[in-house]
Every structure is written in structure tokens, then in C-alpha cells.
Amino acid sequence: MLDLSHYDSLGAALGDALDRFADHICLIEADRDRENHRLTYRQFRERAMPVARALENLPFGAGNRAAILMSNQSKWLIAAYAILYRGGVIVPLDYKLSAREHAELLAHSKAEVLFIEYPLWRMLRNEPGFAALALRAVFVTEAPEGAEIGSARRWEECPEGPAPTFVPRKRQDWAGIVYSSGTGGRPKGCILTHENYLEQCRSLTTWYPFWPGVRYLSILPTNHAIDFMVGFIGPFVCGAAVVHLRTLRPEFIRDAFPRYRITYASVVPLVLKNVERSLRARFDQLPPMRRRVLDGLIALNRGLTRRQPHPRISRLLLPQVHQAFGGQLLTLIVGGAFTEPATLQFFYDLGLPVANGYGLTEACTAITVNDLRPFRADTVGKPLPGVEIRITDAGPDGVGEVQARAKSIMAGYLDDPGLTAETIVDGWLHTGDLGWLDEQGHLHLVGREKNMIVTEGGKNVYPEDVEHAFEGVPAKEFCIFAANYLWPARSLGGRESLILVVRPDGEAGADGLPALVAERNRRLADFKRVSGLLVWESDFPRTASLKIKRPELARQIAERVERSAVIDL
């Protein structure tokens, strides 16, 4: 691994990695069961230089912003390196959002250049908001021959020629603007510096090292802070390889583990639970005798790995389980949302540790991670090296707001000094999450102070961003809350949900509302849908400027009605 303390920028560190590990494989890209290509670090550089040259010719340099809108693939990382090489700022966007949301975030980020996949480009350029964007250049990848791409350029036509000039950056310069959420009301673009990334990478790889020969399966979207870190920066500065699949179909993901002998993979809790279900179903089909033997071996493995994982012993005891994952899997990294302890324990007992943790885009990736020494299924782990955690305003049960201080904490929110000042106070990141620290220094999360949910698929949903879909419903006023914000469960888990609170219109009444709300729900992405309706007959408390006082309304609701009053949709 490179010693990252010697570097001022991601571009410089990655550039040295491309030299040092020139003949090692860095990328394998597959589409279903077909392999598109595999690239060495040298070939990666050869593919990135024409892109960097095209940027240089624009011109594009220090501090210029370029967005990437692609599903996980080699070109994502090649584009990112080309941007960093030219001293630019990466704006990674979630390819799963709608074209309207893409246009909104592109406008907010003030990106001047866009790298985009052809199918997404087709949708974006038909979006009404697209014409107003200040994009100087769009590079479209894999456009079919003869396809109309308007004023965009084809990625494949980036020019050959002499090496472009590398643009050095300092540690405090911006490296990325990463959207933690928010496409409706208030987009939150986290400004992450070169220092944020370099320090986060240093501390994460202390506990979860990469080395040449390691293969990381990249399934989480690369725009997500976790995959950007452990599916790009981490493996690259250590000479490891990243495997991309151009599909998220469970059957192809399953096949990829043995085919590419995967070492690490990051997954969301939804995927983890899916794998657990299928493994349990297979175990249940075993004849009684074999099932008893399996249960005995699992119990033996649990005993032998009580203090720390022993991959070799686990592979020996449970060879068939491990072979199904390729026989080399060291750890599954789970991120983005809460994972049930029973699921974590299930995998650990099979000798497949799950590194669960807790993080925010605002903190670059992770604040705490399970260090597996010993494995704990009931917590979200310990603070990473270099991260300080404190609990403020703790009640008698020790629960209070989790705050963090580290070199990986973002510089602030893009163009939102007010929100930045509220969120980072004297260097401490106010997470808005509630938790407590135990005697071993492990963090336990118990709920959120923020009106927000994190879905099982790892997406942050702010109710305020969903409200526009319900405008015009026959009601005097309405607003959306996360159920866990109204009635804190004091434990995380289960499905988090959104509740629509409506003060009905006197004439229209509330009878037709469930059907109407269900119809409006269909306009939203599945993870943003409202699952309950609460009829509320009092005026909403409002500020002088007529904004709803959400915390006040939430308090009134929690005091006066039970969760059982919510009508399920």
C-alpha cells in the first residue's frame, strides 16, 4: 500500500499507484456471464489519458466540476481519475434517480462537464430542465453507432496524443461534491476534500487492508461514498482489483463470487437478507442427519471464532458454504442502513464476517466499523482510527446525539452556509442520530433526531423531498414525517416508513384520501412511497413566514395520538 501521508491529492496518490502496480490487474468488467474486459493498472492509465486530454482541451482544470452519471463500470473509475488528474472536482450522481432529479442536481452542483451513459443521456436530454444547464461538454459512453447524441461527444472519440498535464492540488482543495440526499427542497451536496478522502482511506485500510490479489466486487452504486472509497480509492492505492458487473440481478451477483474469487464486497441490508433467506432455505432442505451435522459444524465454528475470525478454519469446517462464495471471501461490508443483529450473527457463524458500521456522506464514509475483535452483532462498531465520537445531551439511559470529529469530516454543504453552520459546530459533526457508547467503546444506534429514513436499500429519504408529489390533494394542509421521528422506537430495525399527515378539507372529508394518496404514490420511486395516512384535525403550527414548524407538529402528534391511529395504505 502507498503511504498516503505523503500525498496532497487523490490524483497524485492514484497516479503513483498506476506506476507501482502497473502489471497487476485493477479492473474486471463483466456483463452477466460475459467478461467485457480486464485491465492492468498500466492499461487503466492508457485508457484514462485520452479522457484527461479531452478535458485539458476544453479547457478544464483546477477546481472545475465534472459530474459522472453511470452505473458501476470501468469507465466510471476512468472518468474519475481523468477528472482528478486535471485537478477537477468529481460530482458523482446516483444513476437510479429520475431525469428530472439528475437535471436538478446538475444545476445545483454547477457541473460544467458531464460523463454519462447513453441510456441515461437519452432520458436527460428530453428533460425540460436540461436546456438550462450550464454544461460546457457532455461525454456519452457506448452510444450505438448512428445514434443521435446532439451536441454531446462520444467517449470513444477522446483524442490520442501526447500526455496531458497533471494538475496538482492541495489537501484542503475540493475533490468531490457528493449528494447525501435531497432533490426536492434542499439538495445537500457534501464538499469532500482531498484530505477527507486520503485520511478516510488510511483509517479504513488499517482495519480492512487490501493488497495485490484482493478482488472487491462493486455492487453498491459508485456514487455512494462507500463504494467510491472501498471500490476505488482503497483497492487502487493498494494494488488490488475491482470487479464490476453491468447488472444487479441476484443470479449474476451470486455467480460472480465463485467466478472471480471475490475477497470483499459491499452490500445493502436488503441484499444481505436476501442471501440469508436463500441460504436458510437451502439448509432447511437438507436431510435431517446432514442438517444436524451442519448445525454442529456451525456451532463449532462459532466457538472457534469467538475472539476473532479464522477464515482458514471456517473454510475447512464449512467448505460448501465457502465454495459457494468462491472460497476467498474475507468480509462482506454492509452499509447505508441498519442491519438486524440476527442476520449479522448468521453470517458470522458461517465464517463470513459482516463488517457493519455507521457512517454518513458528511463524514466521507464511515465513522464506526466493526473491528471483528471480537465480532459484535449488537453494535455498529468502534470509532475508526483518527475518529473521535461523543454523545451529547445524554439522558439517564446514556442516549444522546452522536457527534464526530475527524479529518474525514466534510468541508461543508455546497452553497448552504446556514446548514453547514448548524451541522458542523467547532469541528464536531452533529449527526442527528441518537445513540450511546458502551464500556468497550462500541457505538449503539437507537434512532434519529432527524426527520429522515434510511431504507433497507441504503437510500436516505427526507420526507420534505417527497411532499411535492402530494401537492393538490384535497386537504387544508399536509406534511410528511418519518414514523420513527414521530414515535421513536428506541431501537432500529424493521421497515422504516413515511407517514402522510393530513388536515382534511371540510367539504371533501377524508374518505377518498387513501385511494388518492395511493395514486400519487405511484409517481414516486418505490423507496420514497408513503405507507401510512394520519388524519389530523388541528391547525399545523407555523412560523411567521408560514413554514410548518415540523418539530413542534411532530411533538403534538406524538403526544396526542398513538401510532395505531395511522391508516395503512
Partner: protein
């Protein structure tokens, strides 16, 4: 393969979805939201896509499901590839 019209494709999707997720066929309509009606998550929706690929002998990239929530629109995406 004989050319199918949109209604035929929609009917075949509804038949297949009903069978795959054990939902009474009579309860499914073309304009229904399949996430809600079949009670499936995004991963199961990808699984449905695989079933449809096999049925129609086509390849449907994941992005064809993007922004699609009802059977009818899904049928349109498939029709464009069935040709």
C-alpha cells in the same frame, strides 16, 4: 417469433407475474403498480425481469426497469425489444 402487439405482451406479463409471485391473475391489471400489487422489492423486480427475458427470449438491461412501476410501461419496454 411472431410479432406480438402491446396487449398480448401485457397479458403475458400479467400471467407470468401472477404465477411467479402467487397472486391471483384476476387481481392484476395493466395499469397496476407491480411493486405494490405483487408486494415485491427492487431485487424481486429484477428477478421478474429475468423471468420475462426467458419468456420473450430477449435481453433486457437493468436500466429498462428504471422509472417503470406499472405493467403497461414494462410491456412497452419489452415490445421495443421484441420487435
Amino acid at each position: 417469433m411472431p410479432t406480438r402487439n402491446l396487449d398480448e405482451i401485457t397479458t403475458e406479463i400479467l400471467d407470468l407475474a401472477a404465477k411467479k409471485f402467487s397472486v391471483p391473475r384476476a387481481e392484476l391489471k395493466p395499469e397496476d403498480d407491480f411493486f405494490k400489487k405483487l408486494r415485491i422489492d427492487s431485487l424481486q423486480a429484477l428477478d421478474l425481469l429475468t423471468g420475462l427475458e426467458r419468456h420473450f427470449s430477449i435481453e433486457l438491461p437493468d436500466y429498462e426497469l428504471q422509472g417503470v412501476t406499472d405493467f403497461r410501461t414494462l410491456a412497452e419496454r419489452i415490445q421495443a425489444r421484441v420487435g
